[in-house]
């Protein structure tokens, strides 16, 4: 892992370890309801300060915490048009299958490419450390996958171009 990426991911990991202290908290406004407070934002006393971690202008991670839920939004690096459409396609593909991931949000927060919503119930069902590992590994894998996809598309294009030009020989 390159140094800048390692520092970025370490910073995200440490912030998540501090932020992922969630407990059950019923809704203060509607009885017998239990809602993720980070989504509603109706009670400011239940919200913590959001933390924005920027690797550079193009890559950043927003961590918003509340008493019973945590939202992580990621902006992925997109160097050119091809990476742009590949990232868009891939992250939309994952978001549409959010139920497979449980902690993934179907629609990303505005200004970001993908978002996670972790509630106290997820923390009860899953191990906290491994959940953090998953988020960090997800960030790493997304970058790797988009780079590999871009390289594969270019390689395919080159092979097809070679085959086309062979016809003229």
């Amino acid at each position: 892992m390159a140094n800048p990426l390692k520092l970025y991911l370490t910073c995200v990991r440490n912030t998540l370890e501090a932020a992922m202290c969630l407990q059950n908290f019923p809704c203060q406004e509607v009885e017998r309801h239990n809602k993720p407070e980070v989504e509603l934002k109706t009670s400011p006393e239940l919200l913590l300060n959001p933390v924005l971690i920027c690797r550079n202008e193009a890559e950043k991670c927003l961590i918003e915490t509340s008493i019973n839920s945590l939202r992580i939004s990621l902006k992925v690096k997109q160097a050119d048009e091809l990476e742009n459409i590949l990232a868009k396609k891939f992250l939309r593909f994952l978001s549409m299958r959010a139920e497979a991931f449980q902690v993934l949000r179907r629609k990303p927060v505005q200004g970001y490419d993908i978002s996670f919503l972790i509630t106290n119930y997820h923390c009860e069902e899953m191990q906290k450390q491994k959940l953090i590992d998953f988020i960090v590994q997800f960030m790493e894998d997304i970058d790797k996958e988009i780079s590999e996809l871009k390289m594969s598309v270019s390689t395919r294009g080159r092979l097809v171009a070679t085959e086309f030009l062979k016809q003229f020989l």
């Binding site: 091809l82 459409i85 593909f93 299958r97 991931f101 009860e124 294009g157 080159r158 030009l165």
Partner: protein, 373 residues
């Protein structure tokens, strides 16, 4: 997706079957191929000839649509095999050309396979000869403003391309249009690779390829709707080397199918991206499964979409089991009533008094004191 070979594989197979049959066989086939191409093959046991009719979109120049085949094209078709092939006039209804094939006049060696392959590529022969004729007959050459006038050719509707004749070469320009923005990006990446490969030393003999997002200077003066594209312009410089002898047919066929080739590549790339995304998603889900807390020594596994479906199934099962219990209880009551339908007068009172278990515990909870006075 149809193959990009000149010879139609399906047509070749049928013709070979007829040729290799020991006795004349009955054949009546209609073949439909990509690009609105239609073949009709008819052969009967009583007649020694096989009839092949073909209907194909023709190459049009500008706004003038082609109707029928020119004598030059017909001559090029006859040249495939002078002995075994003859053109039938008039052609079968609904087709542009009907050929009469006499397989008995074909040589009994590898040459016959070659001729049958050429007959199977009759569509390519028609289109190539049309393009050759157009290039030969251009009024040589309309020069306006010091530049040769481009010739607009239409093979597929809404996909015209231009051919510009220059002193040392012919330039073929393809305005590229795509419906989807992601198709534009994938195609642009392909065109850049095409340029890179074509400009390398190893491929010096192939036509020089160029891509630009804006119309090339040769197309100045052409209608705006023809020059408005989202995929840029791809141009090939065809020199005399590329049109010598047998290379001419290959070059012409490759140029005519360039649009279809690009669109096929874009479609395949999208499918490839989709497959990779699915595989990657499966590997990411497996990482998440490892974070599940162990229950009773087993890790709760929720695989992909099955997790949500399992929960729904479980909820349905629990409500079902309650229903089953209730129904069983009702059934038991009913059975008891049926079994005890035989009534004996006074037995109920007798049962209540003598057959019930006595209650040893006192409901009041105290013992009465004896009165000693």
């Amino acid at each position: 997706m149809a193959t990009f070979e000149r010879a139609s594989p399906a047509l070749k197979e049928i013709l070979l079957r007829i040729y290799n049959a020991e006795k004349p066989i009955e054949v009546d086939h209609h073949l439909y191929e990509f690009g609105s191409v239609e073949y009709y093959i008819k052969s009967s046991a009583s007649e020694p000839f096989t009839y092949l009719s073909i209907s194909t979109p023709l190459l049009s120049q500008g706004v003038f649509l082609s109707y029928g085949l020119s004598p030059y094209t017909l001559q090029m078709v006859r040249d495939i095999s002078i002995d075994a092939l003859d053109i039938v006039e008039p052609p079968t209804d609904g087709y542009q050309l009907t050929l009469r094939l006499d397989f008995s006049k074909l040589p009994h060696d590898k040459e016959s396979l070659k001729i049958i392959t050429e007959v199977s590529s009759v569509q390519a022969v028609i289109l190539s000869s049309q393009l050759k004729e157009m290039l030969q007959n251009v009024n040589s050459w309309d020069i306006s403003q010091g530049m040769y006038k481009p010739i607009k050719l239409i093979y597929h509707p809404r996909e015209p391309f231009y051919v510009i004749r220059q002193p040392q070469k012919i330039v073929a320009v393809f305005p590229m249009r795509f419906k989807d923005h992601s198709d534009v990006i994938i195609a642009t990446s392909f065109f850049q690779e095409l340029m890179d490969v074509g400009s390398s030393g190893k491929w010096a003999k192939v036509p020089h390829c160029n891509w630009s997002p804006i119309p090339p200077p040769e197309l100045i003066g052409e209608p705006f709707e023809d020059l408005s594209t989202n995929g840029g312009f791809v141009s090939f410089d065809i020199s005399s080397h590329h049109v010598e002898g047998k290379r001419l047919d290959k070059t012409v066929w490759s140029l005519l199918n360039f649009y279809a080739y690009v669109k096929h590549h874009v479609k395949c790339t999208r499918g490839f991206i989709q497959r990779r995304m699915r595989r990657r998603m499966d590997s990411l889900v497996q990482v998440l499964e490892k974070s599940m807390i162990e229950e009773n020594g087993e890790i709760k596994k929720i695989k992909g979409n099955a997790g949500w479906k399992k929960m729904k199934k479980w909820m349905r099962l629990t409500s079902k089991s309650k229903m089953i219990k209730r129904r069983y209880h009702d059934f038991r009551k009913k059975m008891k009533r049926i079994r005890f339908r035989i009534k004996i007068h006074g037995f109920a009172r007798f049962r209540r008094r003598w057959l019930t278990m006595p209650n040893f515990s006192s409901s009041m909870g105290y013992t009465q004191l004896k009165n000693n006075n």
